[in-house]
């Protein structure tokens, strides 16, 4: 960029954003509403309104069934029974989800850093590779882990040979497998926001740090890491939320005693036919997660969300 270019960019009078200032005349004033309303209506009808239904369902008498219909009895006790019966899976969801998020951060940060700072012309290729696992089915990938972590599989046998795992040690059908699956499946959700955040950091800031006697590690800790925090927060949220609510990994890679809250809810809806308790549990999960999102939104504002 020539000095002239930089200078002219600075010299150019700031153009007020038309969306902020200009009052369009006539029909153009309403174009915005026309465009936004169809999608908003769809989301309103099929995302927001269902929550109302969910709340209503959670207050039904659990004695009914889908076929015979439910009776609205303002059964607030559904919530208490749901939580007391299922506090273990609830806790496990947050623990497994939290662990998976932590490992995603541990693995994902170096990966995002490498792509942002060290990849050069391979940047785009590596980004594609990060999301490449998504090119095949979530379920099929998870089933593959059954093979990888199988008792007579390569991984287990190697670990047994190294005496890290005992003779009867297993990986499959353990919490370890569940967390591994969760970590694997949600890694891109951590890497992409991290990458976006790291990419935006001006390299000259890091150079300035090093010019001011900071070693590479201090430079990272004092400059890069703090500036990447928005990405860390976003990535953490986008990973933890679906991970905590997942049940596929728990079902395919764990035992019934490893079940997460998602398994329970699914079970209540399916064979258990217990819609009110399922609804109550869903809402509890949602409430807990909503708290986290609200805290995040308070700090970061909504413009950067979408």
């Amino acid at each position: 960029m020539s000095v002239g270019q930089v200078a002219s960019e600075l010299e150019h009078e700031p153009e007020p954003d038309p969306a902020e200032v200009e009052e369009p005349e006539g029909g153009r004033r309403y174009t915005g509403y026309l465009l936004i309303i169809p999608g908003l209506v769809w989301l309103g009808l099929f995302f927001l309104v269902p929550f109302y239904s969910l709340v209503a369902t959670s207050l039904y008498d659990p004695a009914g069934t889908v076929f015979s219909g439910y009776e609205m009895t303002w059964e607030w006790s559904n919530y208490t029974t749901a939580i007391t019966d299922n506090w273990e899976p609830l806790l496990r969801s947050f623990v497994y989800g939290g662990l998976a998020t932590f490992f995603c951060l541990l693995l994902g940060y170096p990966l995002a850093y490498a792509i942002a700072f060290k990849a050069g012309r391979w940047k785009n290729l590596m980004l594609v590779l990060v999301i490449a696992p998504f090119f095949t089915s979530f379920l099929i990938r998870t089933i593959s882990w059954q093979l990888i972590l199988a008792d007579n599989g390569f991984v287990v046998e190697t670990l047994q040979w190294l005496h890290i795992l005992g003779e009867d040690g297993r990986l499959l059908n353990t919490p370890f497998a569940v967390v591994t699956g969760l970590t694997y499946n949600f890694l891109p959700f951590m890497v992409l926001p991290l990458y976006a955040s790291l990419e935006r950091i001006d390299h000259r800031l890091i150079e300035a740090a090093s010019d001011l006697y900071a070693s590479p590690i201090r430079g990272f800790a004092k400059v890069t890491l703090p500036l990447s925090m928005p990405g860390v927060v976003a990535g953490t949220l986008l990973t933890f939320i679906p991970a905590a609510g997942d049940f596929i990994n728990a079902e395919l890679l764990g035992r019934p005693s490893d079940s997460m809250i998602g398994n329970v809810i699914q079970g209540y809806f399916g064979g258990g036919n217990n819609y009110p308790d399922a609804a109550a549990l869903s809402l509890v999960l949602m409430a807990l997660i909503l708290v986290m999102v609200i805290v995040y939104v308070r700090r970061a504002g909504t413009e950067d969300l979408v």
């Binding site: 769809w42 995302f47 369902t57 490449a132 090119f135 095949t136 089915s137 997942d246 413009e303 979408v306």
Partner: protein, 272 residues
């Protein structure tokens, strides 16, 4: 600094890159397994391991009963959901970037929430809606479609919005300065430049729809999509053809990405 030996220096310079590549390799192991297992000739039922090599699975992809029907259903829903979500989402993106309206922050929040809500919760609430409004007997193709358009919308908005926001509005001013009215400006300048974003959003929507299980499963009634089929077979006996489909999905996606990048590179062979 100078006390580090040369190989050591090479490692520390490239450490991050090495770690990065290792992580990347790790993400591909399960895919390698999928590809491998598509050639598997299972010896026994109920165990999932590689027993022997065969072309049989690829030669008879539709052998498992109901699988190809499920794939067709998934494709149908995917195409329709993509159409719906892309249209609605693109309109919303234009509104957000180019127009004024009150309630921006609320709109942003409403668009963001589906991306941040666990699927089990979204699926549950939709099911509650359908049951509550008396459609519990009608769960099937259309309820799945409704759900898919719903959760794909947000992703389309984000993708198109990013592309649109990067579009210099002065290009459109230049067009109008050069005698193009609003309609012509849109079709000759705005649309061609946003199109890659719209296309990307459509592809994203399709893959999200095709692969969805949790929400679909709760609202499917008697309809069976491909992920539901896989789930069902995971409880019983997994036909290897599932991995054939999985590998095919992977290959097709890779091809699309390659095609896109080749097109991109051909269009911008820049002179230094």
């Amino acid at each position: 600094m100078s006390t580090i030996s040369r190989p050591g220096r090479w490692v520390s310079d490239h450490l991050i890159l090495i770690i990065g590549l290792l992580v990347l390799a790790y993400t591909f192991v399960p895919i390698a397994v999928v590809v491998l297992m598509s050639f598997n000739a299972p010896e026994a039922r109920l165990t999932y391991q590689f027993d022997g090599f065969t072309w049989h699975n690829w030669a008879n992809p539709c052998e498992p009963e109901g699988m190809c029907d499920a794939v067709v259903v998934s494709i149908e829903i995917g195409l329709l959901a993509t159409l719906g979500a892309t249209i609605l989402g693109t309109l919303m993106a234009f509104a957000l970037v180019r127009h004024r309206f009150t309630g921006r922050s609320t709109t942003n929040l409403v668009i963001f929430l589906p991306m941040a809500t666990p699927e089990i919760v979204m699926g549950s609430s939709l099911l509650a809606l359908f049951v509550g409004t008396g459609f519990s007997g009608d769960l099937g193709f259309w309820t799945i479609l409704i759900a898919h358009i719903m959760f794909c919308l947000s992703f389309v908005v984000v993708t198109v919005k990013a592309r649109l926001a990067g579009l210099d509005s002065r290009l459109e001013q230049a067009a109008m300065d050069l005698y193009a009215n609003e309609w012509q400006t849109f079709w000759r300048v705005t649309f061609p430049l946003v199109f890659p974003g719209i296309l990307g959003a459509a592809l994203l929507a399709f893959s999200l729809s095709f692969d969805d299980f949790i929400i679909t499963n709760l609202n499917a009634g008697n309809e069976v999509t491909f992920p539901m089929f896989v789930w069902g077979s995971a409880q019983r006996d997994i036909p290897m053809q599932i991995n054939v489909i999985g590998t095919a999905m992977f290959l097709i996606s890779v091809l699309i990405v390659l095609a896109a990048s080749l097109r991109g590179r051909r269009g911008a062979r820049a002179v230094a």
